[in-house]
Amino acid sequence: MTEPVPVFEADIGELHLSDGAFAILERLARRPGEVGDDPLVREQAALLQSVSAIGSDGRFHPSLTNTIGVLRHPDAGFELTNGQRATRIWVTSSHAALLMAADEMCLRRLLGLPVTLLPEAIGRLVDLGPRPRPSAVARLSLWTLLADGVRRHWTLAEVTPGAHAPAAGIEVVDTDGGLWVVEPGVEDPMASASDPTAVWRAIIRLVRPVGSAPS
């Protein structure tokens, strides 16, 4: 299968690339200039050069500087799973990088942004906004909840390299009747009635870099 050619929007520092190209980009971010003799690496690096994401001198385009900086030394990583779509997120004290779910061309959008805008970016991806407060029942079985009127079911989890389970996270079921937060449980997980403010605060607590909280 032919490797899709990346698309680079230099003016806004966004790159649309395949999983294979991203793997090489991440590797080059951590070990700049180390293309080596591996033909697969050379092919992907050449594709990134063909769209000017990488210059002939091996340096990344200036508009990618912050994004590459986050990929080089992330302080934390997260995965946002929204139905079948997964977005990977990396964070430093100043910036965040997001690798969106693949589009119909099998390209994933890589973008960087100031870390202060990350909660909003996540909120946009999960369509967090005003919802009715669930009434009457405060807790439900997750399976009961999923059987009826679900708009979205998403999870934001911290990903620690080498760990088998997420370090921390939040799982939300967005229904016509309001938001529910899933309580971790193996056999029969329960969901508690929640609201957009509580979910927004949970997102902030999860993704904010250490040291961003006032003393």
Binding site: P114, T116, P119, G129, P196, T197, A213
Partner: protein
Amino acid sequence: MPTGWETERDVAGALLSCTQPPPTGDRPTYLPPSILVTFDKLPDGTTFDSWLQDYRQSLVEFYDRLRLIDTEEIALGDVAAFRTLSHYLHQVVGGVCTDQWCIEGQRRVYVITCSSGALQYDDFADTFARVASGFSVTAR
């Protein structure tokens, strides 16, 4: 108002302005949290609901990339209030959260606007709610 915050009355069109002083010697890298109390007279023929509708539209026009996170009809004491949590882009500090309570009283709408950097919102949300819940309109 929170202890230690700098409070000013009748300043720049606001009844009350209250801001947490930045840490001594440090240039703040986030928007210092603040609480602002303003009021608007309800024009004749205008209801609280229609005022709210216009007000929400003005927020969208005023703030850059405003995103509504939550809205809530609540009671502050025996007075009905409307709460709005939103996020907007500040050109210097980036993401900002604004928690607002609009309260009708004596043909006026009082607006309590509580703002903080987006990443600091969780630290101040309870303080903001406590301040709003202590607000009351007293006839003179």
